[in-house]
Chain length 406, copies 2
């Protein structure tokens, strides 16, 4: 990696385990500037498999793991493969992260919306899934896959194991591939009441009648406590897919040659972080924990802030980086919005932006039950600014309501 | 960038201009770990525009430049945008780099093949372009764009300015967007006889009647003398496209959030390399020139090697990293190939691989005039192994011909 005369200088800049890891990676990769295997560097896929095994307690196979340039790239590639013609439908949650509607629009496929149940903490009911599927059937749409975002974006819920089993059964009964967007799996803020379970783990606990169940799970370096989103790295794991389908995924991946090697290396760092005893462990653990405990604190503080607002309710901050409160706007505000040619939720968010500088995304960007108004907020503002951030929202909301209260 | 106490150590590892550049980039980017502008970091797009201006002597606009994860990603994005329905056709050269046929297959669009003229040094004739276009029309295909790879892959030719003007006129007359794959623009091995001209420059020299001509040009960090292909960086520049089309390109780019930031930084290094007087200039220039002059030498040596083989002819090594010689195989060899269930060119290449360990790609992978046989070879084996490489090919070919000569 480094010329001998430079080793001493390098050691002053980097911990010895970081240098050892760089050497090991370089040995396995050969050259950081060259194309890698189109499916991702084998050494790194092996580490991903170990990470999954440790997380789930079930075997993972590196040959069924594909490294990607972030989860978005993985979602786009697999949806492209699943969408055979313009009558294909993909079940997506409402509210949803717009990656899904945008990708389906580009592919000329049909979103088959199912609504998350706000009254049940943004959980799913199989009744609603069945309703959504049969509505699509009536429209002549062939539903091939169901997207779940867990922990939720924009809704921030973490699904219960029981709910996940229901979903898996629903997919099995209807011969639907399950696409599990699990990029927020380490952003868990009620770890005892609402722990994260991967769909892979829950599936594997359901016994041999679910062998061959088709599941694709996505993960990313962009979230969690590392949040290295600009580096574009991630992976997806395929479970139960036919060998010939895996070959086609590899073929499509190879059109783009390979995911960027630095992003692949970041995946290695994510799935195989410094271990106790490593020189960089203490610093890693401290930075990780500082971010994690601060996010927990901010998540719950923001949830409480939203629930303190007149006419506003917010489900619990289970996970991810978002809350999606519902606001019940006064008639006067709705009329003012219509007069300004805006949706009521957009009108509210624009007023907040102008008054406080805080940018919330209106619920209509994610989808919501007709006649309701929501917005998505992150809880990412820096800890030292967070009280001011929450105070600003409260102050704005009070004055907005004073202006428009019926 | 670095803590003060680390500056001294850093200076022992990196030249001061490299550190200054890193600081400037960091200042303009903000964070290397965060998402950048979906179109690419503005500071880097400005440097790309300066590079294009300096290359062509014509203005370039950073707002019409899109940074990408390599040229492949740019080609896929723009073809996706152009292919509106399954009757759309895209003219592609034969032989061609398989990115184009693969992407058109995924998009369910129609390749409209035109043949490069081997007898004219793999140049294009407008007669052949017209033939190709009217054939497509007869098949009910709406041809929307024409792909040119210049310098050529797999053919290694560099087009003359006159030939380029003909192509531009053809596209204008037929209302066809020109897609110029110019990723090998610095790999030029006969710089006096066959200099590289960008299509942008040639277009701009053709006068005001060509205002509004639609051209998209692609470039990449994967080729040239840097060859940092695993880092996935590149850009495309749009010329003459309507503002509303540019907005759609931006929208589609934003689905994937942003190109990886490290790849963008490599684009900055490519378009704005160390300048004379910079501490790292001498090393940069030496490494660059060593690679360049060695590539020139290897290109011409390999061309001569192929032309020395019985029944083999090879056009001149103008540019790119490839040669695409034609081999006239004896009947006996063709019969042996058929008996083995292989195409003759594949049979030849497999025999070479088994006998020498040298991997050539059979011409049928790129397309070729029916009944002819070619193969693609790079001239990338290391200089110290190159004589052995060429000698091995000659020895293999002689014994192959001895075995199969009619």
């Amino acid at each position: 990696l480094l010329k001998d005369e430079n080793s001493e200088a390098a050691l002053r800049l980097f911990p010895s385990d970081a240098i050892a890891r760089a050497k090991l990676l370089l040995k396995n990769i050969g050259s950081i500037g060259a194309y890698s295997h189109s499916q991702g560097i084998p050494h790194i896929r092996e580490n991903v498999a170990k990470f999954i095994e440790e997380r789930d307690g079930h075997a993972a196979d590196p040959s069924k793991i594909y490294l990607t340039q972030g989860a978005s790239a993985g979602v786009q590639l697999t949806l492209q493969m699943i969408v055979e013609h313009s009558k294909v439908g993909i079940m997506i949650p409402i509210p949803q992260y717009p990656l899904y509607t945008a990708t389906l629009a580009v592919l000329d496929a049909n979103p088959v919306p199912y609504y998350l149940d706000e009254a049940k903490g943004w959980g799913l009911t199989t009744e609603e899934l069945a309703r959504s599927l049969s509505d699509a059937k009536r429209r002549g749409i062939e539903t091939r896959a169901l997207v779940i975002i867990n922990p939720g974006n924009p809704t921030g819920q973490v699904l219960s194991e029981e709910n996940m089993r229901d979903i898996i059964r629903f997919c099995k009964d209807n011969k639907i591939i399950l696409l599990a967007d699990e990029v927020y799996q380490t952003n868990i803020y009620l770890p005892k009441e609402r722990p994260f379970h991967s769909f892979k783990k829950v599936l594997k606990s359901m016994g041999p009648e679910f062998d061959g169940f088709e599941l694709i799970s996505y993960h990313s370096i962009s979230k969690g406590m590392i949040g290295e989103c600009g580096r574009r790295g991630g992976y997806f794991e395929c479970e139960g897919l036919d060998e010939s389908v895996l070959e086609q995924i590899y073929k499509i991946s190879s059109i783009s040659l390979c995911p960027n090697v630095q992003g692949q290396i970041m995946v290695d760092l994510m799935v195989n972080p410094p271990k106790k005893g490593d020189p960089s462990f203490e610093q890693y653990k401290k930075e990780y924990d500082d971010i994690y405990y601060s996010l927990i604190k901010r998540a719950h503080k923001l949830e409480n802030t939203f629930n303190s607002l007149e006419g506003c309710t917010c489900n619990s901050a289970d996970g991810a980086m978002y809350l999606f409160p519902q606001i019940r706007l006064p008639k006067k505000a709705i009329e003012a919005a219509r007069a300004a040619g805006k949706e009521p939720d957009q009108f509210y968010c624009l007023a907040m932006l102008e008054s406080t500088g805080v940018c919330m995304v209106a619920g209509s960007g994610f989808g919501q039950v007709e006649g309701t108004a929501h917005f998505r907020s992150t809880f990412l503002p820096q800890p030292e600014l967070f009280d001011e951030f929450c105070g600003g929202i409260q102050k704005f909301h009070a004055s907005f309501m004073d202006k428009y209260r019926d």
